[in-house]
């Protein structure tokens, strides 16, 4: 136990302000994200992540949003296991034919009003997998999409920036 406490103490706080690519004031944007979530989501934006056919690259980066550097909970963003509790679906693609029905069911299980972000180049348009007998292409081919967060995969900072952009556009 002593070792654990010591390690926690010597690690200190690693969380940093999110490093957004634009030349805007980063702290301002972080504060803005939190302000919007506080105002419209009572301080907590709940996300269900859905892998609709991804290669797992985007999932690794979505996981990384939770690590101590990005700590997305500081803005009130957290992930839920059930779509019934979700405000937003974060969907990675391409939508495989074999996931089409499950994706639609997940979408229908999410209470309205709901937001959908298509993540990654494949979520945008199918990426390198394109459209085929097995891949239906981008997320918008199957469910309505509010915003796209491109990248292969998008970094955790891109993801946070993309979520902020979506929320601002919907305001």
């Amino acid at each position: 136990m002593i070792r654990i406490l010591y390690q926690i103490l010597r690690t200190g706080i690693k969380t940093e302000p999110v490093d957004l690519p634009a030349d805007t004031d980063i702290r301002e944007i972080g504060a803005e994200l939190k302000a919007i979530i506080d105002r419209h989501f009572n301080g907590s934006l709940t996300i269900r992540q859905v892998d609709a056919g991804s290669c797992n690259g985007c999932e690794l980066e979505i996981h990384a949003m939770n690590n101590v550097f990005y700590n997305c909970e500081q803005y009130g963003i957290h992930f839920t296991a059930s779509p019934r509790f979700a405000d937003m679906l974060l969907v990675t693609g391409p939508v495989s034919r074999n996931m089409e029905i499950a994706l639609k069911r997940t979408y229908n299980s999410t209470p309205a009003p709901k937001l959908v972000a298509a993540v990654g180049d494949c979520g945008r348009d199918g990426g390198i997998f394109g459209k085929s007998y097995a891949s239906l292409g981008g997320i918008h081919e199957v469910i309505p999409v509010d915003a796209v967060i491109p990248g292969c995969p998008p970094s955790p900072a891109d993801l946070l920036g993309g979520i902020l952009k979506l929320l601002k556009n919907k305001q």
Binding site: R3, K14, C55, N56
Partner: protein
Amino acid sequence: MKTLLEILTAELDAPVSPVSGTFPATVPVCSVPRERFAEAARLLKRAGALLAAEWASDETHLGRGFGVYACYRRDSGYLIVCAALPLDDPSFPSLTRRFVPAYRFERQMHSLMGVVPDGHLDPRPWIKFEDWPEDAFPLRKTFDGSQALPRVAGEYVFGKAEGEGIYEIPVGPVHAGIIEPGHFRFQAMGEDIINLEERLGYVHKGIEKRFESLSWQEAARLAGRVSGDTTVAHSLAYCMALEAMTGCMVPDHAQWVRAVMLERERIANHLGDIGAICNDVAFAFMLYQTMRLKETMLRTNKEIFGHRFMMDCVVPGGVAAGLDAQYKAVILEELSAVEDEFERLVMIFDENSSLEDRTRSTGILSAEEARDLGMTGLVARASGMQLDCRKDFPFAPYDRIPVNIPVMSAGDVHARAWVRIEEVRESLRLIREMISTMPKGQRSAPVGSPAADTTGFAAVEGWRGEIIYWLQSGPKGEINRSMVRDPSSLCWIGLERCVLGNIVPDFPLCNKSFNQSYSGNDV
């Protein structure tokens, strides 16, 4: 000791003919009459070989029918046995009586290529879902892969344990957390798991068909996206198979940089897994600590290689960017920092008795089961099998920098976590040695086009285990077939076995200790 080819040639009661135009020369390919395909498997099994992969190829553009291929492995030798099937009767004797992995391989071959394994006990499709038209065989040349398929009615029938008090738990495909989709069907009695059946294929993206419409260069990018967490190892295996076919001599510098990237990928993923295993037994401290180390490595990857996961950094003929002295120093400095922190965490891991209590004797896969099921990679090594392509099928620089292979015998969650710990330590050592011995030189060499009707093979030890690529060129030297075999295609079945008799709440822990790829399995 006789090679597998010598044993087969001496003992099979039918002609064994060597096949030409196959690369590299160290992996022999021979053909047998199709009715002796299973007999060859029996003889090779008796000689101690394991089935590493089995697949089919549509060779009509090459003026033949279908080809079925089985890749066997014993110690450091691979042998590929093939048989020709006529177009009007594409059936072959099933290998399922000899090798468990053939069970899913052959269902997949039947589903996607329409070749029929005679004597296979399970006619259900695999990867292909019941709502596909029955006569849709995407890997056949006559199938137009660019068109959407209609949905038909059909139901997948799960195996079922029955009896008083037995209940069923369906899980997935959209299951808890940020994770790939798959379906798990449990039958349980009280808390105990009586039966588990996996149903995979949800993320089938038609990758093998897609390969056939790409150029050899573009296909390297696709190989890097078969399983995003293993992008270096997959693109490396693809590139090595292509380079074998074209006789490309990759510069030493590039070989060393590739190996540094491969080991960095291993460390990053193992760090994430060690933390995730601990998190599943409510020891979240470790997850946050290891994810912190992983994140620092990903940032260094971005700085040095230009991508956090090093996607598209391995290219045909070499690497996208070399390593200069400045970056070598960055890597060495980072290694020391990571190693120092990692050893502190290992000490905490080792001293935590409640963690040990949950991980020891949970999800045991015995050495005998692991061998029977044909496990590979870290799952095999945690169950007493000493296999590793870096030792068994060494390519530069592993032929000059020997790798110590950690092997544990317990086969439980603890052993699988501990194999990862030892592998992180070994990879740290390897990277140091690679950096200090790295030759100067070019970052890549030109890659020509393969000749018509040739094949290339490569096996690379990714962080999960042995990844196999088998490429075949068509009549114009284009891609006729690209067979991708992620270690997950072998190891998923081990998870089904190891959870039996465990309690349902330990399933996530067992699953995490395997951490197999859905995307790599479903391709």
